[in-house]
Subunit: 304 residues, 2 copies
Amino acid sequence: MSLLIVGTVAFDEVETPYGKSGKILGGAATYIGLAASQYTKEINLVSVVGGDFPQEHKDLLKKYSINTDGLKVIPEGKTFFWAGKYHKNMNNRDTLVTDLNVLADFDPILPEGYKTSKYLMLGNLTPAIQRRVIEQMTERPKLICMDTMNFWMNIALDDLLGVLKMIDVLTINDEEAQQLSGENNVVLAAEKILTMGPKFLIVKKGEHGALLFADGKMFHAAAMPLNAVVDPTGAGDTFAGGFMGYIAKTQDISFENMKKALIHASAMASFTVEKFGTDRLTEINEADVKTRIKDFYNLVSFEI
Amino acid sequence: MSLLIVGTVAFDEVETPYGKSGKILGGAATYIGLAASQYTKEINLVSVVGGDFPQEHKDLLKKYSINTDGLKVIPEGKTFFWAGKYHKNMNNRDTLVTDLNVLADFDPILPEGYKTSKYLMLGNLTPAIQRRVIEQMTERPKLICMDTMNFWMNIALDDLLGVLKMIDVLTINDEEAQQLSGENNVVLAAEKILTMGPKFLIVKKGEHGALLFADGKMFHAAAMPLNAVVDPTGAGDTFAGGFMGYIAKTQDISFENMKKALIHASAMASFTVEKFGTDRLTEINEADVKTRIKDFYNLVSFEI
């Protein structure tokens, strides 16, 4: 079923111990869309780019069944640009450049055909923009998932708390869960956040996997230990894209099915980090995904 | 089958955000023994204490089927004492006191009946002592598992590398695996360490679980997210005790069975941290363990 994705489409420039990427296609919505495209061919994208955004990138998105009718182009503007450098242990990174450019005035306008999308993934953006997207939907999506970050907790907490009441699934990392809840303990943090609106909470722990919480239930998805993490950029967005893509494909929003979605999310993220940018995501096929899912099964499964 | 445990028996004094323990029974061999006693009733302990070690602690060990013939008492000496304080997030701790006392001159002498123990768990001690224990065995144990720490990598690396060639399973934490191998990546670190002697490597990641590596195979055991970690002291030792206790009970040293042993190890560790010191370990019974194992199963299991 149709999945609407709202988020950044950007240029990234990344340096890691494995090398330099040069200026490449990036952005949350890009990673979400490419990951989701492994599961559904009805993907609607809402974002904004400048006149410098090349046709080849647009063609790539279309090739992966991503409808770009909602990708606004501002010819006189420049595309959002982020540059960063990862340190040796890959857990810390320095942001070198953040040029918002056309993103600074982004006001998402949903094409008519998008307004009845059954599933909605709100990439990390200002809470005000996330709200305006939800308000344009003429039918309440079956599931709304939202990503956010500590930055919005610092400067737009009231707006953020407002949007939390409108969504179903929140994905944040462990430090953000602590900040949002004021609780150091992840179980207590989850209990508190689940009183703020979302019925499901996904706490992303990077190389340590992810936890899904809902209504007294808990599930842990391990991350796949890899012998080379070449570029972690976009892993969290890919995770969200794998999650929502799997949900849109299976049309089942039960906790049991979300567990599987979390494994697919982890699998897609494990691909992304194996190469720079979107290189790995645009290489893999259904068989690769199937094999990786089996690897995850073998990684954690035991009999009692 | 018989399990020989060599390690510290000590007094601990712990402060955590949940309170102060006062001076309580501690030590690696204590936690290892109590955890293993859930699985086997043939436990041989080798350690040393001072004249200040009370009969009630000895009685407790005996109550849990731990043979204390190898617990040397030095009447004029004092028992090893450690005091520490955990910070709010429980991941960091300050050591306030380390009085080695009788441990400083510890020379483990194995009682005759211990020398044919089928399984051997070497708690964290100087590599020289660990070696002397192995050398006293008249029959090579079916499995030798060893714990160590960064301290010995810093001051006794050659000794440590020597003992590594004599053992089967090494348990260390992720930072120690990095230090020992010189590799930041855990998969590469494991590959390197597995060329140093051990056929199996367990990398303990605290609240993030543990990884088992052997011969191209990999298994991840999640840690149970708990709503209150009251006192993390002894969690790693309890983990080792649960692991080796389960192995001694099942007498199966295959990778498949070690996966289950790792889950039992995690389960026992999850109990220990729920109360101060050994309080929780001396409360639980077989039914509690069974329930907790089921909780671990539900935490990570999914169908594909």
